[in-house]
């Protein structure tokens, strides 16, 4: 395969071997951990800043405005300026808050999203950890984020924060179910939970095409449920600004507020990359069986661009949702999950199992 020129496995092994040859094992391991940590932190920060900019531009485009346009060409340095502003802002201490939990909460939210990003395959061999329960692991660690939101809401000692946290808790706990079940549908098709194997299984066609009807239903459900799970509009009841000022992060300021903000965007990035990985083939180039010339040309586009392109398309879809749909009421939100998405999902799993058993997929 032509895209094997972009295989990073041997590159990683060379670095690994060089480190272990020259350093004692513990130091070599620590160096590797530090390198990976720094790379991921940089990636995390850059993607976060870019997504904030992208959201403002997309929002402006939808609302027929210009958006940020002063700092740098097309305003691309606007978010850097905002970030520096947030760093310099005062951290307001809350007198009657539970100080330990109040300061801990942003870290729990951000660590949960940081743990999830480690398992995502960016390209062949570009993978921090390739667990054999990959997709299950991502779901497990991203469910920890809600703890941070609940703690933030309660420890602020503010009624808006508390109501926001309660809403977000009810919402995330129920929508997690749909996210998980739509992932299970795709796991049935892939026959594996390991993310690298799921990508490899899409070599001859992405699952959204090969799994036809049930895969498409699962994709739609995943998109709805994961938008809700990341607390984004039209499901942003937890921070509904017209009713709750800012919901669970009302009392936060400065860099602690920035942590919540960044975690929200990174969670969006993570669910978008999971969607890209399990439905659109991750870093796998577009292959059409039979069109050999076309496939070879596609293989020369580096996998990282394929991955980023698909992820950005899904992110754009989620931003589109946010700025075009009105916010749901809490009872409508729960009704949508429990009365519509869950039964459809359960039926969809049976349909997918039937299709896989009968071999009706491509």
């Amino acid at each position: 395969m032509a895209f094997d020129i972009y295989d990073f496995t041997s590159f990683n092994q060379t670095i690994d071997k060089a480190l272990y040859d020259n350093l004692p094992p513990i130091l070599a391991m620590l160096t590797e951990m530090v390198i990976i940590g720094v790379v991921f932190l940089l990636f995390y920060a850059l993607v976060g800043l870019f997504l904030v900019y992208a959201e403002r531009k997309v929002c402006a485009f939808i609302q027929n405005r210009v958006g940020p346009n002063r700092v740098g060409p097309y305003g691309i340095f606007q978010t850097f300026a905002d970030f520096i502003k947030l760093l310099m802002k005062e951290l307001i201490p809350i007198n009657k808050a539970d100080k330990i939990l109040f300061n801990l909460a942003p870290f729990i939210v951000i660590i949960a999203s940081f743990m999830a990003i480690a398992a995502i395959p960016f390209g062949k061999g570009l993978h921090a950890i390739d667990l054999n329960v990959g997709i299950f692991y991502v779901m497990a660690v991203s469910s920890l984020g809600v703890v941070g939101i609940l703690l933030a809401g309660w420890s602020s000692n503010n009624k808006y924060s508390l109501i926001g946290a309660m809403r977000s808790g009810a919402q995330i706990v129920s929508y997690e179910l749909s996210v998980g079940l739509s992932m299970v549908t795709m796991v049935i098709l892939a026959g594996s939970m390991q993310l690298s194997e799921i990508v490899e299984a899409q070599r001859n066609g992405w699952f959204i095409f090969t799994g036809h009807v049930p895969a498409f239903i699962a994709f739609v459900i995943f998109l709805i449920a994961s938008t809700a799970e990341t607390n984004r509009g039209p499901f942003d009841l937890a921070e509904a600004e017209s009713e709750l000022t800012a919901g669970f992060h009302t009392e936060y300021s400065g860099i602690k507020f920035a942590f919540f903000f960044l975690a929200e965007y990174m969670n969006m990035f993570i669910v978008a990359s999971i969607a890209a990985t399990i439905f659109w083939g991750g870093w796998m180039p577009l292959h059409i069986p039979g069109w050999e010339g076309f496939n070879i040309v596609m293989d020369y586009i580096p996998p990282f661009f394929w991955y980023m392109g698909k992820t950005l398309v899904v992110i754009f879809l989620m931003m589109w949702f946010k700025w075009t749909f009105p916010r749901l009421r809490i009872d409508q939100l729960l009704k949508l999950e429990w009365k519509y998405l869950l039964p459809i999902n359960l039926f969809n799993i049976i349909l997918m199992a039937l299709i896989v058993l009968m071999g009706w997929h491509f």
Partner: protein, 170 residues
């Protein structure tokens, strides 16, 4: 010392310290948060043993499920300024004696037993193996317990709905 040993020491220190803090803290939500740390470090232990499935289950069920449920019920019921009263001195003494005796018992049993390191290579527990043994009814199959637990859970869910349902007044 190898990296594994260092990780083991870190995880066990976290587990011990936060377990003690969980039962001694006088603020209920802090206790729940400390419990969360204990459960996450236990998941870390499972990751160290390369048993990734159990680690992920530990994270989803205990850290993401049960702790969230606990925190949720605390949010509904208690106020931020509430603190537990410190229990009476005699109660604390009795509790300390009981836990020390328990710790001594466990330690002596563990230290007296000679553990022989196995020579078998570590088994790769992948998802296919777990899935197949959960629904097979032959040797090493868990179909019956699996179905029984499903029925139990279903009954519990229906019971919860019946209890929570508002009775319509005429």
């Amino acid at each position: 010392m190898t990296g594994n040993q260092i990780m083991f020491i870190i995880f066990s220190a976290i587990i011990i310290i936060f377990s003690i803090l969980t039962v001694t803290s006088r603020r209920i939500l802090r206790a729940a948060t400390y419990l969360l740390f204990v459960l996450i470090s236990t998941a870390g232990m499972y990751f160290m043993l390369n048993y990734e499935f159990l680690a992920a289950v530990q994270l989803t069920l205990y850290a993401g499920g049960i702790v969230v449920l606990i925190i949720f019920s605390i949010l509904l019921t208690s106020h931020i300024e509430e603190k537990f009263e410190t229990p009476a001195l005699m109660k604390r003494v009795y509790a300390a004696i009981a836990s020390i005796i328990g710790a001594i018992l466990v330690c002596t049993t563990l230290l007296n037993y000679t553990f022989t390191p196995g020579t078998e290579t570590a088994k790769d527990v992948n998802m296919n193996l777990i899935g197949n043994s959960l629904i097979s009814w032959g040797e090493q199959g868990y179909a019956l317990p699996f179905e029984l637990i499903s029925i139990l859970l279903l009954a519990a869910m229906i019971a919860v709905i019946v209890v929570a349902k508002k009775v319509k007044t005429k």
